[in-house]
Symmetry: C2
Subunit: 234 residues, 2 copies
């Protein structure tokens, strides 16, 4: 009798947004999914958590971990975690990559990856998937390939000698529209994802994140299945 | 009229232990202190927090931040955060550097440093001091110089282009006894520090951390000013 080799395990950082959902869809083709969600006091935390659970259900993921991270909100300094800083509706992120936008959360992805590495080391996952996107991104420094190379080295020197964890960034070089197409091709549950920085019931359609998403679906020639406040969804 | 140049600001990770207290004492000679404490569900959390406040009061630090980090306890896998794993009393850490001890918290210092970098970037601190000790340590992979070099690179690529934050590990090459001597020479409030992994009222004197501390004071020719359970403090 032949024994079918079990797929290796991977921790997937799943915010509930489109990029991480498609990343999970890609990881699902080669790995067993252990899904990690971080609530860090961002404006649309409750809605993103809901998206996480729906996507996790879709993939039948048994291993799930939701961690609360208060330090980013305590530190502040970003429109996403600090109510005193307004979320931009200028569409600035679409036009220019100069400067770091106010939605940048200082050193955010290091917190997320640290949680992923700690969990991966305990549950013996061999990879960490993260849906960082360099192109078409809003200019966040921690979404670029060199950042993940540096983190890979940190894992190598900072974990048990026998630990082998590879960081996978399968969508980092894709355009947003390509991410939509890839997700559609893989049957990813894009209708469960959430991108809006501002609202939790219907997406605002005007924040930078909504604009990038709407443009991506438009370029991919697909209809975005989520609900937008009527006036702005064109 | 001459204007005295203000000292630059540094974030100091202050657990409340001896190494971080002496690190704060060293940082205090060149920087204004912004003190950061992380509560991560470790056994002696309440006592360490108390030590942090006393040391912060001693240095008159106006900027203080205490962050709660639940993810490490959720992830588990360490005797320090998981009640199901016993804290060793074997003195093993004193005898051998082979293998990683059960008190290793997977990838812990990355969480601490990430919080420090996020805060440093927001309050514009130029340095982060951490009291990691490579020699005489318990064999934790994230206490070695190469780990901090890797993290320095991560900061360089993962923060705003204008951000300059240097990681300082002033006690990393010192023996524990040298840390005691240095602390005493700088007038550091060693009586306020806490090292015991097990208890919060009087130190147990038999866990690896207590043993290392007692040996360090003994080798430095000084009396440890904190209270130990009578029978074991010899």
């Amino acid at each position: 009798m032949r024994r079918i080799k079990e797929k290796p395990k991977a921790v997937v950082l799943l915010s509930g947004g489109m990029d991480s959902c498609v990343t999970a869809a890609i990881a699902d083709t080669t790995h067993r999914l252990a899904l990690l969600h971080v609530s860090y006091g961002q404006r649309t935390e409750r809605r993103e958590r809901h998206a996480f659970e729906e996507i996790a259900d879709f993939y039948g993921a048994r291993e799930r971990l939701v961690v609360r991270l208060d330090s980013l909100a305590q530190v502040g300094g970003s429109a996403l975690t600090d109510a005193a800083i307004a979320v931009p509706e200028s569409g600035k992120a679409l036009e220019s990559h100069a400067g770091i936008p106010v939605t940048y959360v200082p050193f955010r992805n290091a917190h997320f990856l640290s949680a992923a590495v700690s969990w991966a080391e305990v549950i013996r996952a061999e990879a960490i998937f993260i849906g960082a996107v360099a192109e078409d991104s809003s200019g966040y420094p921690d979404c670029r390939p060199e950042y993940y190379r540096a983190f890979q080295e940190l894992i190598r020197v900072g974990t048990r000698p026998e630990t082998r964890i590879e960081i996978m960034t399968p969508v980092i070089g894709l355009k947003k529209s390509e991410i939509v197409s890839r997700g559609a091709a893989l049957g990813a549950p894009l209708r469960s994802t959430w991108s809006c920085y501002q609202f939790e019931d219907e997406a605002c359609g005007v924040c930078d994140s909504c604009r990038l998403r709407l443009r991506a679906f438009s370029e991919a020639g697909l209809r975005d299945p989520i609900a937008y406040r009527a006036a702005v969804a064109s």
